[in-house]
């Protein structure tokens, strides 16, 4: 009896040992698989969360595009339309006009020298060197890096932008040639374009958007609106200081650019300014050269879309379809909020 008990105890012991060994083996295998598995699952969840936030923000941006198109249909982008657009997204979307500023890629050197923009130049910075740098290094969307040697960083962030279409009425001939080359890769076409621009300068002619193709030809028309004759600044949304600088060019003969800019911005805060209202307020006749700068459309919008805790930043450009209706096109979309944007809002 005692021998049988011993054997049973031995059996139990052996069986327990075997089961334990098996369990240890399985547990060890599971433990080895757990860590990478858990890390992978966590990373996948994070990536999934970020992808969902990004998709949600992009959906919000895409939902806003028809509103930009609708708002521009009457040829005026007003402050009230902008505020209504932001309100319809209940704070999840911040929108601002990012093209009603000066483009250091394109500005004529004498315009910088002879207007209030000269005060933004760094001590010792030369506009000739700026012109040369654009020809040699090319144009850039990253204006803080490309033009940091010429302008103070804070002024670049507030008063300048890389997001404008080029205008043959206001922009530097060498910068236009470089833009043409970068846009098409065609150096002889770029040189021919500069020649046509030089003839326009010599003739002291300001072209309307409708006259642009007749002067520059069908190839140039195909490159519109990237190169054209549209005014860059929307008086409804441009900052007073920007309008003042544009009006301060001595050749325009405007008596008090500061007062004119002030009255334009004050009026734009209370109502939408169309071309007729703008002409009356600024006292400009139809042929006045300041029309080269002053317009009522915004060509590039910057949108900050909030999704969860993350911000995303989009740049949208406007152009007109063949039937003349406005079209909004996303040209940039990436993570980033108002705080870390290189071009600051000036509120």
């Amino acid at each position: 009896m005692s021998a049988l008990t011993d054997i049973r105890e031995g059996e139990r012991g052996s069986a327990a040992l075997g089961a334990l060994a098996l369990l240890i083996l399985v547990a060890a295998f599971a433990a080895a698989a757990y860590l990478p598995l858990a890390t992978g699952v966590r990373a996948a969840a994070r990536a999934e969360g970020k992808a969902q936030a990004r998709a949600k923000a992009l959906d919000a941006v895409l939902a806003a595009l028809p509103m930009f198109e609708e708002g521009a249909a009457d040829g005026v982008d007003s402050r009230a339309e902008l505020e209504a657009l932001e309100a319809s997204f209940a704070g999840a979307l911040l929108v601002d006009d990012v093209s009603s500023r000066f483009n250091p890629n394109l500005l004529r050197k004498n315009f910088i020298e002879k207007t209030t923009l000269a005060r933004f130049l760094k001590p010792g910075a030369s506009v000739d060197a700026l012109q040369q740098a654009r020809v040699e290094s090319g144009l850039s969307v990253d204006i803080a890096t490309a033009y940091g040697d010429f302008f103070e960083a804070e002024s670049l962030a507030v008063w300048f932008t890389p997001y404008t279409y080029a205008s043959v009425n206001t922009d530097d001939e060498f910068a236009l040639e470089r833009l043409w080359f970068e846009a098409t890769g065609d150096s002889s076409g770029a040189a021919a374009f500069r020649e046509a621009n030089r003839r326009q300068l010599e003739a002291l002619t300001m072209l309307s958007p409708a006259e642009f193709a007749a002067w520059y030809g069908v190839e140039a028309e195909a490159l519109a609106p990237f190169v054209g004759a549209e005014p860059v600044l929307n008086v409804n949304l441009a900052e007073m200081e920007v309008l003042e600088a544009a009006l301060a060019y001595p050749g325009y003969g405007i008596e008090s650019p500061h007062a004119t800019a002030q009255s334009l911005t004050a009026a734009a805060r209370s109502r939408a300014l169309d071309r007729a209202a703008l002409a009356a307020l600024a006292g400009l006749d139809g042929e006045h050269p300041a029309w080269a700068w002053l317009g009522t459309r915004t060509w590039f919008w910057r949108i900050f879309a909030k999704s969860g805790d993350a911000w995303f930043r989009a740049i949208v450009r406007m152009e007109d379809r063949e039937d003349g209706t406005p079209e909004a096109i996303v040209v940039e979309f990436r993570e980033g909020g108002p705080e870390d944007d290189p071009l600051k809002r000036h509120d």
Partner: protein, 172 residues
């Protein structure tokens, strides 16, 4: 003397029997639990393969997206032509520099993702297909890749950080 010689014999017999019985029980237990353990280990192995596959896919996805986000053509530049990419796709304008290409290449063993000279390699992928993400209006908007790993098919659509202008008739 008789007593002393028989006692150890009885002891050793009992120990041997115990060992045999214990071995037999262990073998029987192992045999009984083998299918369970075997399927548990197989399931774990399969789960681990699947998880490692997903992890590889995740690494490839994150690397491709990060590279695509660095491709930033200015809005005035013409879109690249969506030529048949074969085993490698190259997009200019990496970090906003026209002459700096972003490269994704498949050499049959690993996917190379990054700059031409400093590409990151992701192995363990099969049936890799490289293509362009297009908007149907003459613009290449990013990279589109399909591959298999961990027994599953994956597709990555990675948009660039910015989008160039469409190639239009009449412009070079």
């Amino acid at each position: 003397m008789r007593e002393s010689s028989s006692k150890p014999r009885n002891d050793s017999g009992a120990t041997f029997a115990h060992t045999l019985v214990a071995l037999a029980v262990l073998v029987a237990m192992s045999a009984a639990s083998y299918p369970l353990a075997s399927s548990a280990i197989a399931a774990l192995g399969k789960a681990a393969d699947s998880a490692f596959g997903a992890s590889r896919a995740l690494v490839a996805d994150a690397s491709i997206r990060a590279l695509a986000a660095r491709v930033r053509a200015p809005f005035w530049a013409a879109s690249i032509e969506p030529a048949n990419p074969g085993d490698a796709i190259e997009a200019p304008w990496l970090d906003g520099e026209m002459e700096k290409p972003a490269v994704i290449a498949w050499d049959g063993e690993a996917l190379r993702i990054g700059e031409a000279e400093a590409a990151f390699r992701v192995g363990g992928l099969e049936h890799v297909e490289l293509a362009w993400l297009e908007d149907g209006r003459g613009r290449v908007l990013g990279f589109a890749l399909a591959f298999e790993t961990g027994g599953r098919a994956w597709r990555v659509e990675a948009p660039f950080g910015s989008f160039p202008r469409p190639r239009t008739e009449g412009t070079p």
